[in-house]
Symmetry: C2
Subunit: 478 residues, 2 copies
Amino acid sequence: MSATTPNPASAPDEVTLVDTVITGATVLTHTTRPAPAYPELPREDVEARGTATFLDDHAIGTRGGVIAWVVPTASVPASVLDAAARIDAHGLVAIPGLMNGHTHSPMTMFRGSAEDVPTNEWFNKHIWPMEVNLTDRDVYLGAQLAIGEMLLGGVTSFADHYFATDQIARAVEESGARALLASTFFSSQGPAGVESSAAFAERWNGAAGGRIRTAMGPHATYTVDDADLELTAAHARRLGIRTHIHAAENMQQTESSLAKRGVTPIQVLHDTGVLEAGAIIAHGTGIVESDLEWLVPYADRVGVASCSKVYMKHAHTTTPVRMLHDAGVTVGLGTDGPASNNTLDVLESLRILSLKQKDAHLDATWLTSQHALDIATRQSAAVFGQEASLGALLPGYTADIVLIDPSAPHMQPMHDLAAALVLSVRASDVRTVLVDGEVVVRDGRLTRLDLGEAIAELNARIPELTDRSRGSIQDYAP
Amino acid sequence: MSATTPNPASAPDEVTLVDTVITGATVLTHTTRPAPAYPELPREDVEARGTATFLDDHAIGTRGGVIAWVVPTASVPASVLDAAARIDAHGLVAIPGLMNGHTHSPMTMFRGSAEDVPTNEWFNKHIWPMEVNLTDRDVYLGAQLAIGEMLLGGVTSFADHYFATDQIARAVEESGARALLASTFFSSQGPAGVESSAAFAERWNGAAGGRIRTAMGPHATYTVDDADLELTAAHARRLGIRTHIHAAENMQQTESSLAKRGVTPIQVLHDTGVLEAGAIIAHGTGIVESDLEWLVPYADRVGVASCSKVYMKHAHTTTPVRMLHDAGVTVGLGTDGPASNNTLDVLESLRILSLKQKDAHLDATWLTSQHALDIATRQSAAVFGQEASLGALLPGYTADIVLIDPSAPHMQPMHDLAAALVLSVRASDVRTVLVDGEVVVRDGRLTRLDLGEAIAELNARIPELTDRSRGSIQDYAP
């Protein structure tokens, strides 16, 4: 799609027969091209990034899990309506399924268990000693609870990074959600670490009818050595997948890396071939200007997942979104794990990123709500490497669709829908969610999952899970 | 109550006959003394501030709008239960009604109408030109919508600052909510300004069965001159009320005041007698260390209402909560008006204050969730000057009670209820709200208000309301 092609959503598409028609929605769309060609975009398109607009009273037809057309509701023939399942979205806003670019979903089980502590204590006194206690079933139930929370909040896809990932994959498969799963490893595990992460990635990539995709999962540049990162990149190239890794999580890690070995964490990813093979960089709050030299050449395959709430809570400076934006590097949203973020609410991540960016630069004009919505949709999809199929409500894109009800008092009256979706909306305003064209949340209720058992069992497990006396995964000393 | 008195909630109260019994709740209480005697507290009590704790499976009895007792559910005799209206709160958490210490409630009508602009443009290009268009009915409907949004989010009381306040008072009276109303004036109005603010305060103080109380409403130290502030203080003393005023809204205002007249905005409040008479200082992000000299002597009657989300959005530095805390000055929560804050969600204000404090000091250990809950309850009540009757669930306190449902996936499993109420809860988790012992929200629905007409009419008014061509209230030039 070139910059001069008319927006397909407003072109006179053929209104073909479909499985499902959503009628009467206000549909979020974009007036500039999507992210894939971003590094080659002319400057004016970069400047124009984030021009979310809305189409009133439109209908979306989906067939075989894919969006077939987006047209004015009045232009849908009765014959097409009669042959399809109908979802009445009059008064609702349709947005692309939200994407969580970095989380550790099973850590719902530790939500609220390590509060008001600095990062080193969070790891060494709480999380790593508690993670010794995990069973496969804990991971399965924790992931199931997380997926339920995310779907209810309009999050259709998440990039996960954890242990016992076969359990997570099973929970994803059953739930109807979409995920990009990475099996975490450390070099302290020896050669088995990277190999088992690669074996998981190979085993599950494309599973659940394509809803599951995988990434390599090295933990971080301070816990995985360069030889293992080179092996990681080789596996990623072989499998055609990305690497999802914590890097430059905070400025102290960058400073420590420079002091110990004279290179930044981002240069380590460059030098080991991880960036060239494609990567999701989690956090990146310690990315410095000189890192642009390593990031920009791979801007078409590398993105940063920013989890702004966690940086405030854990007292780190925030991701340099403005510097990355100006250099053409993609930034998407993440929540980090619920043990640090306390929720898996991507609408909250969106709001706090927006506010924190204005705050960080003391510039109220920076990062408009339109821009923020671009980060939440097309840029987040680009972080996943799935910008050709996710993050936009356009013909040919996958039918991951969220219907939001803007009628509650806290969003009324309606002057500015973009501002409302960034600064007023609540996850509880999500009414209906489709993944691959299937309704997974209807009128605020999960259609496939019953979370009662997971919640009861995880609460009963708290005494065992929080026993910090049985050793630790390892020591946090980046 | 001295520091060594046992907590009344766990003392063997007499379980007398009451109007209403809430059974089975987890009740938020506090283990240190409440705020009134704060300036005289021994140092160790100041350090211990914010020790919110929870009583499991307790019952709250209310009689004549006042809490009669808080005891274990099992200790309530059947005869007492049978004689009372019952609210089953099994599995719910009871907290004191939330208090919004600074807002401009009717500005719901401008929610989202002035986005991504610096403060001077926000006033001069948007808000003050639009406010020329207001009718009394706009103010009434805007306030009604605001009150509905607040009650649904557990906000039982709000300190308002606006024009056409008779309309706001009428909306409060009808809604069942509680408010502290101030009629805004500028010295540009001449002597009529301060007099009409005082007349309003006198007319409505104690109305609606005591649910309405009033304050004097000078706009700010840069729009109201010293003579009018001295008159304000005289009226406040005469009426036994506080003054609610914008002061040191940002550091630039403090610097400008120092440059123009050699004193800070806070010293102006001191020198004109406003502090001595008692004051709610809105924002105070420009309070500097030397201002403590003026604030500390009146710490028993002066509080700062902090609206942390707005400071991030409008790119101001934040309220110096830590400095004020260490000096013994009370800080409560506010939202500011919905034209700048985009919501009237005090739980959101609580969360963002908590996060922004850690962020501002790059200290993850500062301002724990327990401390944040103290700010949301007892300190906010002290900002209103109502710490003897509001902000605590204790016998003798007014029955403003909020029941929150913590069972949704985003709060489970439950390791830490204080953290969950600060970092995971959503306003949509509020189930039932009582003001003066009357149920004003039941199972998430307003019992007295129907907002449909207000929402429809304000949306229809948008073209007229947003006409910026008819002049302006005045020029923002602090």
